[in-house]
Symmetry: D2
Subunit: 348 residues, 4 copies
């Protein structure tokens, strides 16, 4: 039971890398890579499935999104952990087999949470104050000074704020909102009320979150229930938003009816910032590109250099703990109950 001891192992544990579509050099800075190599025998198998299969029986961990059906997992007799390097869990791993074999399956969603939360707040403040809209006007020689350009400007302080989903993203956003002393209502059907209350927010139904919030953040993961089974944010749901609301979309697009969304922004019903789109790239002639009430963003909320570098650190820290026979603490463990429900598609 070599990894069960705190003493350094005579032979460092073998870790197989297969990080595509992430380039290895993007998630491991030179410093992180150096420490990684010091503590583990690291073999990059990217693009070489034969090599991967040859080494798998000796592997302590796999870092990446390699397909791991039951047959492969059964050959991986020393495998303790699979650490993916994207923000979501995909259906390419036979999770029940992994769990039954005591293999930890970890995701790096937490690496993106701060980047997305800061971006979501930036988008909300832009919508609150018309920052990008008035910058455009200024460049066009149409700027309005002092109060004249502020007719629809609102404070975030004390505002009614709604969150759809309180996972990694929501939990990273809440502290950023706290000094504004908002009244925060959260719709998250996966969490008991007490958890929301402990987080300092009010549990609420979707209708209430939409109907009572001046600012709404859409942060939920896409599941079979909220996309295939009928979009969570369809036209009727969007109509519940109060006039002049500001809505920030930073989670996957599948749960929202985008035609209905753009209709309402075009009609001036509310303002929106959109970072995720049903089809990416967005068609060249999409009307979204012309709407004044929109802040447009090209799926940029999470993928910033600091987040990529953090992935490497998460992986290194948790592998180090696992090699000492301690539980991982930085990455997100796949929940046996949820892995079958996600409908995330790879971003790339």
């Amino acid at each position: 039971m070599s990894p069960a001891s705190d003493r350094p192992d005579p032979e460092p544990p073998l870790v197989l890398l297969d990080t595509a579509p992430q380039p290895v050099g993007r998630i491991f800075t030179p410093d992180t890579r150096a420490t990684f190599e010091q503590r583990f025998r690291v073999v990059d198998c990217g693009g070489d499935p034969d090599r991967f299969d040859a080494l798998l029986p000796e592997a302590f961990a796999v870092v990446g999104q390699t397909d791991l059906p039951a047959a492969r997992l059964e050959r991986a007799t020393r495998l303790r952990a699979v650490l993916n390097v994207e923000g979501n869990f995909y259906p390419n791993v036979d999770y029940p087999t992994a769990f039954a074999r005591g293999v930890r399956v970890l995701g790096c969603g937490p690496a993106y949470a701060q980047a997305v939360a800061e971006y979501a707040l930036g988008l909300a403040l832009d919508l609150a104050r018309g920052i990008s809209r008035e910058d455009r006007a200024f460049r066009a020689g149409r700027e309005r000074y002092l109060g004249d350009g502020n007719a629809d400007a609102v404070l975030l302080r004390g505002a009614d704020v709604g969150l759809i989903g309180l996972g990694n993203l929501g939990r990273a956003l809440l502290p950023l909102l706290a000094p504004f002393r908002p009244r925060v209502r959260v719709f998250d059907p996966w969490l008991p009320d007490a958890v929301l209350a402990e987080a300092g927010v009010e549990p609420a139904g979707l209708d209430q979150v939409l109907g009572d919030s001046r600012f709404v953040f859409v942060l939920a993961a896409v599941t079979s229930e909220n996309s295939e089974g009928g979009r969570l944010l369809d036209a009727a749901a969007l109509d519940r938003l109060p006039a002049g609301a500001r809505v920030v979309f930073v989670s996957r697009a599948a749960m929202t009816d985008y035609d209905a969304l753009l209709d309402r922004v075009e009609a001036g019903r509310f303002l929106a910032a959109v970072d995720v789109w049903p089809d990416e790239p967005v068609p060249a002639d999409a009307r979204a590109r012309r709407l004044e009430g929109l802040v447009l963003s090209a799926h940029r909320a999470g993928g910033i250099p600091a987040a990529f570098a953090e992935i490497g650190e998460l992986v290194l820290d948790d592998l180090t703990l696992l090699a000492r026979a301690l539980p991982p603490v930085r990455m997100q463990p796949a929940a046996p109950e949820l892995v079958g429900r996600y409908r995330n598609r790879p971003a790339g």
Copy 2:
């Protein structure tokens, strides 16, 4: 000593309004105005100096920016307070005479602080992540997806942040920055180190604030020292900023060399968001309108509806206290030591 009692005065104290350039209806909502009229005898003297002079001897308070030289103050034998309704103190009041006569002189700078602070944070997040720049690119069909548009994106979390000035604005901004856990250095020559330490920031010289900060917020009041006596932020000072810094200008322009500033933004040395300009309106052909590294804003940081309405509330609350012979607590008292130093010009 009628106002020395907590009992309601049989004759409500007389308050003279002269709020120009602020329209009375902008700072007093109907509700605030109704309560105001209930508690005081309110006479609007806007544009009628004769009426003002006729009523002055009976006035308990003046609300506005009326000129109050010594001669007028001496006739105002019952005057207890002058409450201006702009964010700064102007040289149109004979402050020493007012102080010697026990007249409170109050300003409503605090009403704007939250609006400016939220805006400053919004500008900083825009600079951190390229929100308005990439929105423009998206509209032009040049958007870059995922990590491709994020090469220069940075987190605010854990960043080195510099504040120039820790007055009302800085104090409203600090709590908004706190959840990002920045390291904050502050240059404020009017404050002892212990006050900065109590505020959770590090006292620093101007050079250190500029040289060591990834984000800089320029928040200081303009004084004879930092404008007439040589601009605080001249070319040499701006050259201390690290490459890639993000600088937010939301206080008056006189302390900065704008030519030098725009040169450096144009050269890509750093990014800046500018809300205050040496000449407003900005000339139509100003090069600022074309710089990609700039977020342009037309003096919009403070003057939003919520701030205007708060002015009326501040005035009403403090007048109510003064009429009960209690000290005002919401507006900012003019400091005898500072009134001679300010070089603020009216915004309108």
Copy 3:
């Protein structure tokens, strides 16, 4: 106008010390004293009124509680500030004359606020959990293990908390309470509701604060209204407290009916921690000494070494600012409206 310049004065300003009953060495640490002597000509006039009177015409500031009637103030032609070194303002200064002459009158109440706030929280947690009571039981061999000694133990988290008074002490206490996420109601007739709301608490009448709070902190200053005009916390008021309340008394005693208080503690109606007493020292045979439901404290909340040392720092920092013709920022300015109302007696 020597002090109106930022340049060091050729002759340092003269400061007269008369700090009794505070020993000079208790409030000025050697370091603080050294800096003080460097920046000012400091003369200790303690116990020598003739010397004081001889130097007064040249004095820039007086540090201490020296009597300053109008006649003396009129001779003090260069006097800019009076800085007392106790926590309260006493009636030995002719305040209107001082204000008319442009003399700053400053108190060092803020130096004690943190010490009192920490102590008040410590007393509240003692009452919540029976810390001192069960320590006594343990020493007597009567300790009860685990849940057995915890029948009346309560959490502070989420509790209804009432504050009577939101001055220096309340404002220092609120942040310490914040992480417990209490619902805080405050009775303070000197503050408008908006100030309380900004502080994150609910304005409430005295009856509501008493009736709805599990924890009550009595923090108000004593005034003519709440002591001579009928005690604020008389028997009827105390009867509003819910059964099992925990009440912390750290402000002056005059506003409370102590006989009624002790009757109720003795009867087991509620628990109390008492730091201030109608007569100090408390008589040897006082029944308070025997009550199990009481935490007894001998006026120890504020006067700790760190608070005394902070007084010297406050004095030095504000004098330094005043000598640079800048406004003081650390000590508390005497409010013209309030100086006639206080009924504080010197502690010593």
Copy 4:
């Protein structure tokens, strides 16, 4: 796969209770119990192993500390979760078998964390200010007024604070400490530095935590390494504490050399508050009962009514999620890596 659906199951899942030594009525309030019965078929098997064994094959969950060796687990074909109702994991469950069979094993340590954290802060403030010591003196007629009793009183604000262990308890304590703005160093060999940095504390070795802290909180779980393998806090470790330190012991006693501890408190080297003892009850003639530098507490930190009631709520909330095929979020999952290391003994 009945529990895999969100629709209510026609037959409510069977939950077996076996909560000893916790009385069922202490952890389930009538309200919680009523909801529990509504959602589940609840059978109390306390004290009836035959009944337990008869029902086990149908059980969806077991709530309690029943022994679950492999043989029993293999008969529990529908078992999804084991929820213990004490604060620790004991060696009476065959954890590897449970994990391999996809059975969630959950503990209710989080229910106690707030109670312990508030108590630990209360003990620290008592030690900082001598609250219980001076209360005893007052009762004995030896009270010292004002500064006289405060010679060794210190502030928590800005203090150097050390935590030994950052698990549930430490994480509940940190937010309570935050408003005191301490410098917090943490020794926790199970956590990477980045996790400590994210929590706003400094990672440190044990020697540094002991040597540089004025306040030390001992919060770690007992493991084979820190007790059997040599006590973590032996005489040499305790000698690193600075003179006048204040040390709070609220975690299990086995990692500390109590003789050495009491020697040092008796000698006046430092002050300590002790809630856990090597032998409970403490012998009647133990010298600890007589030491002035000690705050004595009879294992009372966690077991308060609010904590017991929270256990029932945690159990109900997580069972409800599990029955909806969602992951539990309130209780603490047993970590496969740690279950073999704990050396906790049942408290009762």
